[in-house]
Amino acid sequence: MSNLFATLGLAGSALSSASAAVRTVGQNIANANTEGYTRQRVELHAREGVDQGRVKLGGGVDLVRVGRVLDRRLEELLRGARSALGELSTRDRVLGRIEALLGELDGDSIISALERFFEAAEDLANRPEDHSARALFASRGEELAAGFRSRDRDLLELRRDLEREVETAVGEINRLSGEIASLNRQIVAAEGGGTNPGTANELRDQREELVKQLSEIVEVKAIETTAGSLNILAGSDFLVLDGNAKSLVLDTDADDGVLVSDVRFESDGKRLAIRGGRLLGIVESRDRTVVDIRSELDSLARAIIGEFNRVHSTGEGLLRWRELTATTRVTDPSAPLSSLALVPPARNGSFDLRVVREATGEVDTYNIEVDLDGLGGGDTSLADLVARINAAVGADHPTFVASVTRDGQLRIESGDADLSFSFAGDSSGALAGLGAATFFQGTRALDIAVNAAVADDPRLIATGSGGGPTDSSGIARLIALRDAAVLEDGGATFEEFYRGTVGMIGVDRARARDQLANQRVIADHLANERAAISGVNLDDESIDLLRHQRAYQGAARYLSIVDSLMEALLNA
């Protein structure tokens, strides 16, 4: 009798393990499309039987645990691939945005603005006396300047956006590491510190999914402890240690007009090691790609400002100057001009100041020396220059006064409606650097603009060199700059330089796109491999279902036979 009862127990274990297996299959089918779900399998052990004389009869089946089918090495590779994908897609996205905002191949670009500017210059050379040609030239100049400014502002805005992305990414990291830490605690508790594996499968799946999300943002290493905790390392610093997450903070500082943050640990202020992931893409784009392209734009803008102004300041238009306030604000009027960051920089030389009495056409020329040879300490400052002009001109023309404005600008007034002035032969570049009688003002892409005085009165555009209203020698010198190799130490014209910049962005973007495509292939491949191991195949599950169904049916049949055996025994 006792044997028969034991047989009942055996049938019971078969029934319960089959139903548990069916249930596991059900769970797998239910999660066939769940992101990050790991296929589960029941692990059955034959139960050890009891001795019966010389033989030992089997005792049924034990459900040892419900395990996850998982390749840990693959998971790690997958995390690395996610990091690389995060970084490259950010890079590609940023370069794509830069490419679009430069907009070079079609439509409104710097090169076409430069072209239109030079075309207007040639039309002006054909008709220097024509007011509409002058106004057009000034407005094309402003268009070019605006092209620089708007692109620079867009790039600045892009940098701000990237800074905001850093903030968001850091928030994400903090959230994810917090959740991972909390899952660590739950898993350790559920599994009894490793004594009871398989009791926290879903929590583990969740945790792995979170680590994957974290990897996409920043490259991390994950190390599992025997107790079941997953410790997360960024570089050599723990982001998550057992049940604790170390939160990150932003250390914000201003850089060239934008707020830029370093990512640091809140606890000890140590900088987060960013070796990969989206955050690396963001930070590199913010601090390198965007900064580089801005500096390229700055170089071009600076060359245009410097070269044009150098030529323009020593020409003459339909009108000569009667009063002039230079555009450059000098911080220290008593500092030598060579020590100031002028565009173009001033050097040892001199220029001619020509004072013209309009009624008679009489010209008085004064050679003003700009001593910047660094010898004897007598290097010329703005204040010296003003004193020199006054000393030279004052005796002949008492109304003629040069001064320094409150804002540190050179100011010259003829003080007499019949007295006008212009400049010639500036070998020092000081006039252009100080912004006296220049066409452009500003020092870089951010602030380049047409000199307001010239824009207001295009008659001041220096089309000639003093020959008369239809003298086009001045504008011809400006046009000659089109083919002058003034950038990269005399290696490139304005246009060639900028074409190089556009080509560079194009090459970078193409490379980033190719790398991204390759990385995607790798990531897809790894994901497929993972799916092959840990993913749910409905056909497999159906067969398993059938298998366990049959087992259950068999056990039930066995039970009824045992039952009939017992009945037979009892009724005997």
Binding site: I111, E115, A125, E129, E362, L372, A527, L546
Partner: protein, 638 residues
């Protein structure tokens, strides 16, 4: 395309694969569609960076060619107008010649001449209006000062606006430009050809003398020099930042090795040391030391005196620094230009520019400027029909400035009050010496008095015994016969020429007299060789019934007509050049457009074929996908 894993395939993964495949095909379809609809293969630089950068260059090339074509067609239009104007002026010159021929002979009377004078005045006015023709809103021949008419009438004379001398250019290619119209000065000879002022004014070198002005404006190739004092001390001095001689002196003195200064002669640099032997050498094949005149590798003792650096004249050069530091006599001089007398005083004038201002703004229709060589001043007249001359005031100012020429340098055309010297084909003069030797001289190639003297003295028939020269202190020629013989010295004109009479040397000196002192010749001022000048002279000669002058005017009118012809030919040559440039740019544009489409453009045949292929692939994929999706073991479970 991710590799398809062997073995187990997860259902979800399988679906992902199918999805990715469909996406890829669709992406390619969209790209092809864009290619077909825009005709372009490259839309962003990253699509094909190399092709994109090339295409940018080509596009710029096309835009530039367009601009050059615009410039060229403007230039051609202008040259067309120039040609028309010059043609009209040529017609006027021809008509003037006809009038001259009809009035020079005996058939004409003072009355017909007076009538013709009125017609010539009309021609003159018409010529002025043609010269002032406009192109757009500026004057065709106006040059740099094109809003002002280039020629205007001042009383009975025509005045040329000096601002029209600057001639604007048309840009017809990268760094290629040509003058946009035949300038007025060329076209109708607006300025006096002969220039007063020949003296080398030789400005002194000072500390503020610019290096760029040295060697007559050739400048200094600044670089490094090596200075040694011969006592073991050497220094390499970098002069590349130096702007003036003062900077050079400062830089040399900063070494403490030698002391530099302007030399005592005032024309260069001087290096001095307390002893030793100063040498100066170039560094790495530079030319700085030699350009500064201080190259001396063998040594010159304790003092090295540099050579003459020959600075160029600048408007800011001090008058006191001229003539090697002797300066200019401030007494002043008088400019006489037709009816206008201008007394130019130098009192208070400090710089060359002050002097130029005094002359140019005095209303005498003269243009004074530093000459092209940069060593003297030019004085030219812009007044047609009058003569320009300069007379000394109480001192020697004009002579020092070179405004008064030696008689030997005077042009023959200016002799005899401007009527010149008659010259015919073949020999003009014949000299018969004491020994009976005759010398026949053809002076048709002579331009100045000196040329005539040279032709006489160097004639192959002249054994050297006949010497022609200028009478010292006079505007006259003298002939000295040193030959021995019994005959008289006879000088006469031959071949229908009046050269001997015109040169004031016709006559006979009876033996034993050896010297014939010619008559003083009336030297007229310089004049403007223009069509206007010819017309004014013709008008005045007709009105004054002056037949001797009329006889000389034929050549003057012919000269004016020739000058117009030359200018027309020049305009034609420029137009041809422009036409050449036009066809070149049109060609270039076509080539560039072709290049762009090869680089950037889509291969339509390929794009369409691929589009269709992808379409088929997509359809097949749909069919396969739906077939696979509908397959499941679950369908067969009961």
């Amino acid at each position: 395309m991710p590799a398809i894993p062997l073995g187990r395939i997860a259902t979800g993964g399988h679906l992902d694969l199918l999805q990715a495949g469909l996406r890829r095909i669709q992406e390619r379809l969209v790209r092809r569609e864009l290619e077909i609809s825009t005709g372009n293969r490259v839309h962003k630089p990253s699509d094909d960076p190399l092709a994109a950068v090339r295409a940018l260059g080509y596009r710029t090339g096309i835009e530039r060619a367009d601009q050059y074509l615009r410039n060229i067609s403007l230039g051609l239009g202008e040259l067309d107008a120039v040609d028309g104007a010059l043609g009209a002026l040529a017609t006027i010159a021809a008509r003037a010649k006809e009038i001259l021929l009809s009035q020079v002979g005996d058939t004409a009377t003072p009355q017909t001449r007076a009538n013709s004078a009125i017609e010539v005045q009309n021609l003159l006015e018409e010529a002025v209006s043609i010269a002032n023709r406009r192109f757009g809103n500026r004057h065709l021949f106006g040059g740099g000062d094109g809003l002002k008419p280039p020629v205007s009438m001042a009383g009975s004379f025509a005045v040329f606006n000096a601002g029209a001398l600057v001639e604007p250019d048309v840009i017809i290619g990268r760094s290629v430009s040509i003058p946009r119209s035949a300038g007025g000065a060329d076209a109708f000879g607006a300025l006096s050809a002969e220039i007063l002022g020949r003296a080398d004014l030789d400005p002194r070198a000072t500390a503020s003398t610019k290096l760029a002005d040295l060697s007559g404006g050739a400048g200094v190739r600044t670089g490094r020099i090596e200075v040694a004092d011969g006592l073991g001390g050497t220094a390499i001095i970098d002069l590349s930042a130096a702007e003036s001689l003062g900077d050079v002196i400062d830089l040399v003195n900063a070494t403490g090795l030698v002391t530099a200064s302007i030399s005592a002669a005032g024309n260069g640099l001087e290096l001095a040391a307390t002893g030793g032997n100063i040498t100066v050498a170039e560094v790495e094949g530079g030319r700085t030391a030699s350009d500064l005149g201080i190259l001396n590798t063998s040594g010159a003792g304790a003092v090295l005196t540099g050579g003459d650096v020959d600075p160029r004249l600048r408007s800011t050069t001090l008058l006191a620094d001229l003539r090697g530091g002797l300066g200019i006599d401030p007494a002043g001089f008088t400019i006489r230009n037709g009816p206008i007398d201008l007394t130019a005083s130098l009192a208070g004038a400090v710089t060359v520019e002050d002097l130029l201002n005094r002359i140019n703004s005095g209303g005498a229709h003269v243009l004074a400027a530093i000459n092209e060589r940069g060593d003297g001043l030019d004085l030219r007249s812009t007044l047609s029909g009058a003569r320009l001359s300069v007379a000394e005031g109480s001192g020697t100012t004009a002579t020092e400035l070179g405004f008064i020429l030696d008689f030997a340098d005077v042009a023959l055309d200016r002799l005899n009050g401007g009527l010149g010297v008659s010259r015919e084909l073949g020999d003009d003069l014949r000299f018969t010496q004491h020994d009976g030797n005759t010398i026949a001289v053809d002076i048709s190639s002579a331009a100045t008095v000196q040329d005539v003297l040279d032709l006489i003295n160097n004639d192959p028939e002249n054994p050297g015994t006949l010497v022609a020269s200028v009478v010292p202190g006079m505007e006259a020629i003298q002939i000295v016969d040193g030959s021995a013989g019994a005959g008289d010295l006879v000088i006469e004109s031959v071949g229908g020429s009046f050269a001997a009479e015109n040169l004031g040397i016709d006559g006979r000196i009876a033996n034993p007299g050896t010297t014939l002192v010619g008559r003083a010749l009336d030297v007229a001022g310089v004049q403007v060789d223009s069509i206007f000048n010819a017309l004014v002279a013709l008008r005045d000669a007709l009105a004054g019934d002056d037949r001797s002058v009329l006889g000389l005017l034929g050549g003057v009118l012919e000269g004016a007509a020739d000058r117009l012809l030359d200018a027309r030919a020049d305009a034609g040559a420029r137009a041809q050049r422009l036409e050449g440039a036009r066809s070149r740019f049109e060609e270039e544009k076509i080539q560039l457009e072709e290049l762009i489409s090869t680089d950037r453009g889509a291969d339509l045949a390929e794009a369409v074929a691929d589009f269709q292929e992808q379409q088929m692939v997509l359809q097949a994929s749909y069919a396969v996908t739906s077939r696979i999706l509908s397959l499941s073991l679950l369908d067969f479970l009961r």
